[in-house]
Amino acid sequence: MGLRSIFGGDNLVTTKLDQAIGWARKYSLFPYPFVTACCGMEYMAVSSAHYDLDRFGAAFPRFSPRQADMLMCVGTISQKIAPILRRVYDQMCEPKYVVAFGVCTCTGGFYDDYSTVIGIDTIMPVDVYIPGCPPRPETVIQGLMLLQEKIQNQKHEY
């Protein structure tokens, strides 16, 4: 928050700077695909040639949480894997965004049972929920655009 207080809180300079940083960040999202289940098939479809996530600058997956800034949580999270997901989240550097891909990560879906976590927001904060079982590629693209909008309009730390 250093620079922001030097400029004297919210004013023309900081809002313009926020916009510029937001514009830069929203087109360079490096996803960490935490793929566990059926939604992975749609993730494959959406990130390969036909639907081409690269148009949004968000197709190059980084398999190290240290290099990623968007955690794409794709597929059912069971009680057994939840601690691992949380650990991956903790290892990511700020700024980080979480996308709940598919209804299982949003609410648990129709797996209301002893082994499934009721939505990943019980273990970490979520930025965008993409419902669908699995969501169609178009839905995923819309979710991603919503995230970009969120990044564009948010206050950044500098």
């Binding site: 935490f34 059926c38 036909h50 398999f63 057994k80």
Partner: protein, 624 residues
């Protein structure tokens, strides 16, 4: 044939055979638990029996009955091509039985699963610990007195304290200590490496604890269960047709085959047969799914080896398959298309032509990838001679499908136990001989071509669907009829049903009768009947209401289909109500992953990736 088996067993183990009978053509023997090891050994080794594959091992809980539990073994003989089911009652006070893990290697994992889910102990098992649930879990979830929604607290210790990796078991005796290497006389120490669960090549849900001597794998312990979603428990608490959405998510790359497998098992329990057209529709949809599955498997494997181009080409081809599936079912992946006694709706208009176009695309992509990979030096060097599984090991681990065929065993459920008119179709089963990753790759490539041929033949042999004709016998396409209807020119039409799209508007009577079995116990009536007559309405009501529905007679059945990965079996126990008492799924990749530790022993770390890619592990069906 079953009679001979019964006779031999009764002669040899007269005191221990409690019952022997057949039900729905399945041979079943109920035996005393004290003799299970001897009986299994006899059945495996005797030259007349030769039951060399342990296809399945499952537990069943009959709460309120004494003895409460039952362990069910499904054996298969390659020589005689028959199955045998052995059931062993086990009482609640002392839930214990002799292990058979020394007879079949796969039994190790099957027994761990039964222990995890039912709490039945296996005496003499080398390493009886939980497999699907986590170690801290209390209780045994598939027991009937464990409520399905009873969640236990999340284990947070794993991420709060930053503990170092400790293997859960002692992997080998040299594991932790320094020792002098025999090869070069240097002091060495084995290293432990955790591969997964969050690892790109492990598909997110497998943990392999590797014991490494430099780059060489000394031993490996594979951990699964990260996607356990209690398919079996859900299937026991929902009516028969309600299970289909859950079966979609077993092998989510080829969901239609799971649908067909489950439907055929329930149909076997009910002893009904579907219509001819429906059989061919099931074949066509299964084979489209199989192509999609193999495309994904090879594409992903090639990508993990760095061949991104092949992946992109195959995803393009898979997209064509998904479009075909979507045209019929309305969904891309989780389709829920098949019903007990039929399929949801008939194929859309001019589907054959569409399939022809898309298959042409797929064949072109396959040809491209053949050019890219099959003789590519880099690819071949990384896959040839890697992940070799001998014929004996493959049988002992009860591998099925492409992996068993790559090891040189000719076994395909579509040929050995033909279902849904597969016996009327002419196709070939490719067989490998080395049992390595390269053979599996070639077999999958060839199977896709065979699947294309099957689809084309099925379209030729399929009885024509319902068509609209006018009084002169001329066929009227649906959209033309809709146009005529708009102008009120419906007088000279024979059947005045305006059909625009059978897949989206539900089933109309002429279509409906072609794809549903004419059996009121299972098939929903067509919309015209439901809305137009009291009998139809009552029939619909009886099938939909909770507590009525489809009620197979008391009994049990095992039925297997050839999934994209191998034998996909369902074992269903019915207690006469509208919900199954037990649904057990025999997932083909469970066996592959059980044998994976053995497959990579002695290999390099880099070989793990192609070997794992070639087994096509699908977590949904592995962990269920």
């Amino acid at each position: 044939m079953p009679r001979n088996i019964f006779k031999t067993l009764q002669q040899k183990f007269s005191d221990f055979i409690l019952e022997a009978y057949t039900y729905r053509d399945d041979a079943i023997v109920v035996v005393d638990r004290n003799a299970i090891y001897d009986i299994c050994k006899f059945l495996r080794d005797d030259s007349r029996m030769k039951f060399d594959l342990l296809m399945d091992l499952a537990g069943v809980d009959y709460l309120g009955r004494d003895p409460r539990f039952e362990v069910v073994y499904t054996l298969y003989s390659l020589k005689n091509n028959n199955r045998l089911r052995i059931k062993v009652p086990i009482d609640e006070r002392n839930p214990q039985i002799q292990t058979v893990s020394t007879l079949w290697k796969i039994a190790d994992w099957y027994e761990r699963e039964v222990w995890d889910m039912y709490g039945i102990r296996f005496k003499g098992h080398p390493d009886l610990r939980r497999i699907l649930m986590y170690d801290e879990f209390k209780g045994h979830p598939l027991r009937k007195d464990y409520p399905i929604t009873k969640r236990q607290p999340l284990i947070t210790a794993e991420y709060t304290n930053n503990s170092t990796i400790t293997p859960t078991v002692e992997l080998s005796n040299k594991a932790m200590d320094e020792y002098v290497s025999e090869e070069d006389g240097l002091k060495v120490k084995h290293m432990f490496l955790n591969m997964g669960p969050s690892h790109p090549a492990m598909h997110g849900v497998i943990k392999i604890i590797l014991e490494l001597d430099g780059e060489r794998v000394v031993s490996a312990d594979v951990g699964i269960g990260y996607l356990h979603r209690s398919f079996e428990k859900h299937s026991e608490s929902i009516y028969y047709n309600g299970v289909f959405p859950y079966t979609d998510r077993l092998n989510y790359v080829s969901p239609l085959i799971n649908n067909v497998g489950y439907a055929l098992t329930v149909e076997k329990l009910l002893d009904i047969e579907v219509t001819e057209r429906c059989k061919y529709i099931r074949i066509i949809m299964s084979e489209i799914s199989r192509i999609a599955d193999h495309l994904t498997c090879i594409g992903a494997m090639a990508m993990e080896l760095g061949a991104m181009t092949a992946f992109i080409y195959f995803m393009q081809a898979r997209e064509a398959m998904y479009q075909l599936i979507e045209e019929v079912t309305g969904a891309r992946i989780t389709i829920s298309y098949v019903r007990v006694g039929g399929v949801k709706a008939d194929l859309p208009e001019r589907y054959e032509k569409r399939v022809g176009e898309q298959l042409k695309k797929v064949r072109a992509e396959i040809k491209q990838v053949h050019k890219l990979l099959t003789r590519n030096r880099i690819f071949v060097d990384r896959v040839q001679g890697v992940g070799v599984v001998s014929k004996e090991d493959a049988i002992s681990f009860s591998f099925t499908g492409p992996l068993l065929r790559a090891s040189g065993v000719d076994y395909d459920v579509r040929k050995q136990f033909p279902y849904s008119n597969y016996d009327k179709i002419d196709f070939e089963i490719p067989i490998g001989k080395n049992g390595d990753v390269y053979d599996r790759y070639l077999i999958r490539m060839e199977e896709m071509e065979q699947s294309c041929l099957i689809i084309e033949q099925a379209f030729e042999k399929m009885p024509k669907g319902a068509i609209m004709v006018d009084f002169e016998g001329q066929e009227i396409p649906a959209e033309k009829m809709a146009d005529l209807g708009k102008f009120g020119q419906t007088k000279n039409l024979l059947h005045q049903v305006a059909v625009t799209d059978p897949t989206l508007l539900g089933s109309n009577k002429p279509y409906h009768d072609m794809v549903y079995a004419p059996d009121k116990r299972v098939s929903l009536p067509s919309k015209e009947k439901t809305y137009g007559s009291i009998e139809g309405l009552m029939n619909h009501f009886m099938l939909i209401m909770d507590g009525y529905g489809i009620r197979p007679p008391r009994g049990e059945a095992y039925f297997a289909v050839e999934g994209a990965n191998g034998e996909l079996g369902f074992y269903i126990v019915s207690d006469g109500t509208d919900k199954a008492h037990r649904v057990r799924c025999r997932p083909p990749c469970f066996a592959f992953v059980a044998g994976f530790g053995k497959m990579i022993e002695g290999a390099q770390v880099a070989d793990i990736v192609p070997a794992f890619g070639s087994i096509n592990m699908i977590a949904g069906e592995l962990d269920r």
